[in-house]
Subunit: 237 residues, 2 copies
DNA sequence: AATAAATGATGGATTTTTCCATGTTAGAAA
DNA sequence: TTTCTAACATGGAAAAATCCATCATTTATT
């Protein structure tokens, strides 16, 4: 069961359902893919727009072709938001929503302009039923995202604020922006929702890091200057 | 996609691979099930024994026929344990481990004596490949457990200690012991690892609840006397 | 351009939580 | 039974994190 080929998908394909078509055609036929194509819509979402909504019936699967989204969880009892994870294109979105048979557990919201392929769940699952390997491949993609949530859970459960904020920035470097220099898509408040702490804590920590020369910050523009130190904080902080 | 029939499995079947056979035969043939049977072992685990170990290759899938297990996560950086969730029989175990292609993300440890069916992953996945609906059903079971972890995550991320401990006891009542009176399988330390707080906090909270008449505690024997109040604490505490 | 609203930033008081020291009790092992 | 170890229990000191008030800056709206 080696699906490592899934990991080296070209990030630059535009239109024509791009990467999703390519992944899918490893498992299903062109005719089968046409069925998906016919009942799918290709949409653009602006920063801030909700793509899939928490609590709604999971009528669609989303394929993120370009852009960045957050998995956003609104707790029923309070007005507090939690960001489960950030995801950069290209990915099959859904995570737990994908195979969870009740209503969507969380919302998926664009934090950068996104190109999204919305696929009807019914059609998609019909294909999965007839194609075990395709189903397993999709499960494994979903499991990867589950793993990210679990790792974030460990971080939140066992580490102190500073280490958690460090984890958030290391994650963004490695999994979202693919580099140490980036224009942050999240507000300080959203970073706090991701690291599960107060906004003040994020701001204070960032100021401190800047003074110590660990990061360079100008508004939304970040550069991680001392990754080793950041990793050290993540470990012992 | 209605798999509601999975939810009404008889809890009292013993031996002969019991419930797992029954679930499986909804999707696969008797001959196919024999393949599983041939390469599987039926084992008993004593309280405290590890069934699947974190970091090991996922060579086996476990079906929990009777007993209670914890999903135990040891953070790599510290000696701290986190209990992701508690699971009572009958269930297909594995959760993320089940479909996650790398090493097991967490350990599965018996907190009560257990009867376990250990199935070779290879054989199991061979069947899933040839049977989409079976694969989907198994993944949905795994997603249920994922949901539990997510709900626990929300609790830990947004609530204070007392509310989290309340959540743990409500969960145990509803999903593990199926009633308000039970002999707790976890030590106070383990409850702390589940609620992500210190042992002292658990002990103090329990004493307080006992004084307020919310619970009755005699060593390991618990009775929830005022569930409404416990739910109230979970909400606003 | 003017105004409003959201975001970013800072310091101190308050609250929450953990850590530490100490002691008791229950259960396992010799 | 005795001894030992782990679990349970409590209180106070120390640390961590949030809350609150205030204000500057940026962004969006009229």
């Amino acid at each position: 069961m080696d699906f490592s080929m899934l990991e080296s998908i070209d990030r630059d394909i535009k239109g024509d359902f791009g990467g999703f078509r390519r992944i899918s055609l490893l498992f299903i036929t062109n005719d089968e893919f046409k069925k998906i194509e016919k009942t799918s819509v290709y949409l653009r979402f602006k920063k801030g727009e909700t793509i899939l909504k928490q609590g709604h019936a999971p009528t669609h699967i989303a394929y993120l072709q370009s852009g960045i989204v957050k998995f956003n969880l609104q707790s029923p009892d309070s007005e507090k938001n939690t960001i489960l994870t950030l995801v950069a294109a290209p990915k099959v979105l859904g995570g737990a929503n994908l195979f969870y048979k009740d209503n969507n557990l969380f919302s998926i919201v664009a934090v950068e302009d996104c190109e999204i392929l919305l696929i009807e769940s019914k059609v998609f699952f019909e294909l999965l039923k007839n194609n075990g390997p395709y189903a397993i491949a999709m499960f494994q993609m979903a499991s990867e995202m589950f793993k990210k949530s679990i790792l974030n859970f460990i971080s939140v459960a066992n580490k102190q604020k500073e280490a958690r904020i460090a984890d958030v920035f290391i994650y963004m470097m490695e999994e979202v922006y693919f580099g140490t220099t980036f224009k942050l898509s999240l507000t300080r408040k959203e970073v706090a929702e991701f690291a599960c702490c107060s906004v003040e804590n994020v701001i204070m920590t960032l100021s401190k890091w800047q003074q110590e020369g660990i990061v360079s910050i100008e508004g939304k523009n970040f550069e991680i200057l001392n990754l080793d130190k950041l990793r050290y904080i993540s470990r012992v902080g």
